[in-house]
Structures are given as C-alpha cells and as structure tokens.
Symmetry: C2
Subunit: 415 residues, 2 copies
Amino acid sequence: MRYSLVFGKTRREAPKDEVAVNAQLLIRGGFIDKLMAGSWTLLPLGLLVINKINNIIREELNKTGANEMLMPLLHPRDVWDKSGRWSNKDVQQIMYQFKDIHEKEFGLSFTHEEIVMYILSKFIQSYKDLPVKVYHFSTKFRNEPRAKSGILRGREFMMNDLYSAHVSKKNMMQYYEEVKKTYMKLFKRIGLDVVVTEASGGVFTKEYSHEFQVFSEVGEDEIIYCPGGDFAQNTEISSVAEGKQCDLGHGPLKKARSIEVGNIFPLGTKYSKDMKVFYKDEKGQEQPIWLASYGIGPTRVMGTLVEMYHDDRGIVWPKSVAPFHCHLVAITRDTTHVTRMANDVYEKLQSAGIDVLFDDRTDVSAGEKFADADLVGIPVRLVVSEKTGDKIEWKGRKDKDTEFLTPDDVLKRLT
Amino acid sequence: MRYSLVFGKTRREAPKDEVAVNAQLLIRGGFIDKLMAGSWTLLPLGLLVINKINNIIREELNKTGANEMLMPLLHPRDVWDKSGRWSNKDVQQIMYQFKDIHEKEFGLSFTHEEIVMYILSKFIQSYKDLPVKVYHFSTKFRNEPRAKSGILRGREFMMNDLYSAHVSKKNMMQYYEEVKKTYMKLFKRIGLDVVVTEASGGVFTKEYSHEFQVFSEVGEDEIIYCPGGDFAQNTEISSVAEGKQCDLGHGPLKKARSIEVGNIFPLGTKYSKDMKVFYKDEKGQEQPIWLASYGIGPTRVMGTLVEMYHDDRGIVWPKSVAPFHCHLVAITRDTTHVTRMANDVYEKLQSAGIDVLFDDRTDVSAGEKFADADLVGIPVRLVVSEKTGDKIEWKGRKDKDTEFLTPDDVLKRLT
C-alpha cells in the first residue's frame, strides 16, 4: 500500500489526556482515533493489525471444529429475562439497557450467552445435535464508569467469543481443556506469553474461571503465581500469601500486575436450566445442556502488544501481527532513477505476495520518514536512495546496524 | 467443510409468520436465524455468503483508492448535535437514542456522516490532506416500526458505507461517477443487474441521490424507467408519466417494483458547514469540504439474490457468492470403499483450493441429502456412491441431467 494514499498518518503528539502508552503510540502511529472515552475508530493501519490477530484466532479455533457465525448486538429484553440476568444489579451496571420510542426494551450486547442459548433452543433436539462450538467476532458494549488504560478497557470494543454446548460435564471439560491449550498456542503465535490464572466467574458464573494474563506494570489485575508455572491465581480470589514456598519447590510464590487478554468459563448447566433449553438423551429423557464460553478481546490484545513491544521511538510489532511485512522508504528529491527503482522494488515485493507499506511521499524529509517508520513499527525497513545505488538498505526495527542487499536477496529473506 | 460439523443445518419448515421467500429459504437452508423482527443471526453458511459479497465490494472499492477502517457504533450525542441531526424529527424516528444510567446520551449508528466528519476534523488541515476515501463494513441500527420483507429490511443489519471528502464539487463529482461505475461493476460480479435510479436524498441531503435498483415484485420501491437504459427515477420523486415516449425513442416509459440494493449521495458542503470542518486552500483560506457517501447493504443483497435466484426446490446461488464451489454428497450405508473414495475426493478438492461442502452424514437418506443440496443451492453437486464406481456424478444446480466424470476431470472443471 502506498503511504501517500493511507488515511490516518502519523501525528506528532498524542492528546495530553491520554496517559496510557498503548493509546499514545497507537494514536501517534495512525492506528486508532478516539471518539469518546473508551471508544475508538480503528484507522486503516489499526484494522490491518486487528485482522492479523483475528485470523490467527480464527485459524486456531477452526482447528477445534468450531464454526464462525455472527450474532446481533441489539438484544430484546425477553431473551435476557429468561436467564434472569436482565434484572441482575451487577449486570445492569455494565449493560446498556434502554427503551425505544415505542417503549420496547432493548439491551446492547455485553456478552452473548443468552442469545446463544436462544439459538440452540431451535437447533438442539437430541444428543445427536451436540456438541456445538460456535464463535463470532463482534462488538461488545460495557458501561464503564471510567474507561481508561487506552484501548485496554472500552465502552465499545471488539471481542471474539466462543460458546460450546455439550451433553455432559466430562465432554464440556474435555473441550474446555482443548480450548485452554488452543488459547495458549494462539497467544504465543500473536506474540504474547500468557499465564493461565484461576479467577472468579464474575457476572457469568458462581464457578471459577481461567484468565490468560500477561505480566505488565500497567495491568489492572494482580496475580499470585509460582515461578515454575504450576500455579497462578488472581488475587481477587486467592487466599495464598506471597512468599509462600511452592509445593513443587520452585521457590517462593510471587505477586505481579498483569493484563487479562482472555477468559474462559466452564458455565455448566445454569443457563440451560434457567432458560429451559434441554436435549433428549438416548433414552428420550430431557437433560440439561452443559455450556462453556471463551473470550478474547482483539483490541485489548493490540493494546497489550504495544505495552509489551515498544521503545522510545515507537512500536515494535511482532512479525505475526505487524500491519505489513516491510516498510519501503524512498528517499528522493524527484531523482528519476531512485523513484523508478523504488517503484520497481514495490511492484516486485507485491508480486511476491509480500505485504509492503511504501512511503512514496515526496514532500517529507528523510528524517521524518525514518522517524515515522520507527513509530509505525513494521519489522523490516527497506531504504532506496541515491546512496544505496542498485542495492537496498535493510534494517530490522530492533537492529542498530543496516545491511545493503540486492533486490533478489531482499525478496529471498522476506519469503 | 464437513456438513456433519456445520452448525445450523437445513430445517423442514420455516416459521409460518415468515412470508418473504428470501427469509423462508434462508431459514430453511440454515443460513440465518431470527432473533426478533428485523434482526438475524448469520449462521455459518450465511456468514460465508456475506464474506463473499463483502470481498467483492472490498476488492472493487480498493481499486478506487479507498481505505478500509472501522468506526464505532455507539455515538455520543454531542457529535450528532454538531450537524443538528440529533434533534431532527425524521432522524429521531429512525435512530435509537437513549440515556445510560449516568444520564449520558447516546445514539446507535444508523449512518456515519457525523462520525466521519469528526474524524476528518482531526486529520484534515490543508488541501494536501484531501481527497479522503474511507469505508467500513459494520452494523447499522434503524428503528423500523414494521421490519418485514425478511432480511431486506432490518432493525439491525450489516452495511458497507464509503465516505469521500474533496476540495471541490468537481472533484467530488468525478469520484462520485467513479463509484457509480464501481457499484455497477461490483453488483454485476455479485450477480445482480441494477438500474441506476434518481431518487430523493431522504434524511441525508436535500439534493438528489442515486439508487441501485433490482427489478423485483417483492421490492418496496417503484421506479419509472426507459427500457433503453437512459433514464430511471424513483416514483417518489418522478413527475414523468408511465407510457410517455422516451426522448431517445426506446419505446414508452415503464413502471416496475424494485429492491434498492445501494444508494449514493453527493452530499456537498452541508456537513462541513454545519459541523465547521474546513480545510485551508493554497492561499491559506478556509474552505468547506465536499462530502459524498455511498452505501450497500450486504445482508439485503443476500436476500435480493435469493429472491432473484431460486426455484421450488431451493436457492440457486450465483457462483461468485455461493458459500462453497461444490457440494460433495457421499451416498453410503457404511460401504467402506465409497466412504474412502468420498474422503479422497474431499481431500483432493481441498488441496486444490476448491471450497467444498462435504455431506458426510451417515444417518441421513440419499433423498434427504439431495433435497438438502438443492435447498442450500451450491452451484455444483458431486455424488459418490455404489452406482458411480470410480467416477463422480456431476450435476449443476440448474441442470436436469447428470454426467459421470473422473476425479481428474472434476478437478479440471472446478479450477
């Protein structure tokens, strides 16, 4: 893509009221724009990152046999009354609920358990119709009194939520463990080291849940964990003291701040029983459906990545989710052969299927272009200029030194 | 994809209250499920069709230099107050507006002109920052008193909306004409013949607009048009009588019912002036920005396709938007070699990059499988059974006759 045609270029300064590093760098880099506290437009570069994150999630969930679909965001009250959650005081603090001009009551999606169960009620008759594993990528709305931490916590944000329905606790737990492993794998592919942490079920269930936590000083959560990786609990529920020896002898338990990037809930039969959605077993007896739900916030993941991977010059995207593979910079004062060579390299890279951002601007200095490339944070910077001759200057975003390579060698390294 | 693993299989009957053919067939085929009047879940098969439609739109819009991004759905009142539309009585009939528990006022996206202008206000300083061409695929909410016509008219639906901003009327109209041609091209690729029709600007502008209409008896619109293709007007604004001779001698003007699948608006400087978003020209003078907007409803397009392409057995998808290229049906009573051959064919097709739906169910009769294949409407049906030997039975969805081909010939035809 030609940078001259990209909407949402770099900005010199982030608004002063944005203190979070993720918001500052994402705003300055031209990835996001703020509509109001906790609500952001994904500008073209930001959407590219989110698409990369979502495709990794999609690929890994599909391997578990899950199906992608898309559920509505505006929910009629009656479906939420069936579970009793419409009138739950904690839910009412989070969920936007309102009446339209015809006095009909609606809520905005803050989660989709009720809607999934309502859909299942139409498709599940017998044990033969189970298991069901469905997910979507869509918008969640939560009435956060103080939406802060940049894009880590929003009023409106993107979520990938997966729901699985089963005939028994055993089957549910089997798939739950499979998804737990899948989450660890996909977070690793995205570039995040996660700690699986026991936590409370919040407004979802009285049972426990598992959170996927990333160590970070800016995180809103606090976990207590064993350095050996055997144990981690959110301090919200933990009764274990910091410094206590781990049973397996890995040294004393530690406490740390962290960001929750995913959360999974073995909900059990609560929703089935409350909403009266049953299946018939092999003997024709009605049985409750075992439900579990699983969620990842792709926009929060993007923010977390920026918190983890940046330096004083800008973002340093992991390769797997970078908006482009490489950032081609043409340094030219209208020198015909430099422009021609840069265009040639751009065409060649594109033909080879390499995502390339081409800074083809003619009214911006070399210094500004280099600063922009560092800020935007694409893993590889390629420079074509008078100085590079028939070679291309290669520099990794984290590298200090540059190399001069032939166009063919650049292609080889990138494919 | 194995049909045994697809959530949302065919249903014998559509709910009796659904009279629209599009809803009946899409429900029975397992493409959509109704949450409430005018609000639908896109089940896995339905989402595949929408993705195909959206990818065609995306490809064609990108060719015009437009950038994809993603804007929020929950809008603060103050941004809408800037254009004055928050308090417009016609808008208030359509837009969901509400207060949260903290008395803060929000509206749900029924369109995005205000949000686009607000974003532009932060990125456009001078004429050098124009033109801007941005679009997104996202959710629109409209408080339809009687959401009917299946998925042709919804309370909540998917929309692709494009916004372009320019320095002058001339530039705006140039791009407007380019998008008009792009729309004609993309609708053709999707499988729809559209008539470009002059229409009113509704709650968007006092100026005219252009609608993209598809002839259909179930359409809510009525147009008057010249059979030669020179002229078409929505009867809402037309003062021309049916039967009048066309100026170019193409025979008398005709009247017909139609479905509006797209609408484009040369909005002009209204939003720029109302919202006080200006750019500086070459002399440093403040000038208003010329805005145009363009919209397509992918879910409505899907419904329109079903209205146009179906027979008494089910849907007949155009190839370009069919959820899969071919529907492989294994007819077997656990006959090992038939199962093995069907699995082989499935693997081969997938390796060749062909989207295939594989009906691998073992508890469903041949008759039911054939009926399901006709209902789901994938362009090519392939059958592997005892009778087909080492050949595969090929049948186009619209064909009466079948052919027997070798696996290699099937591959050749599909690639």
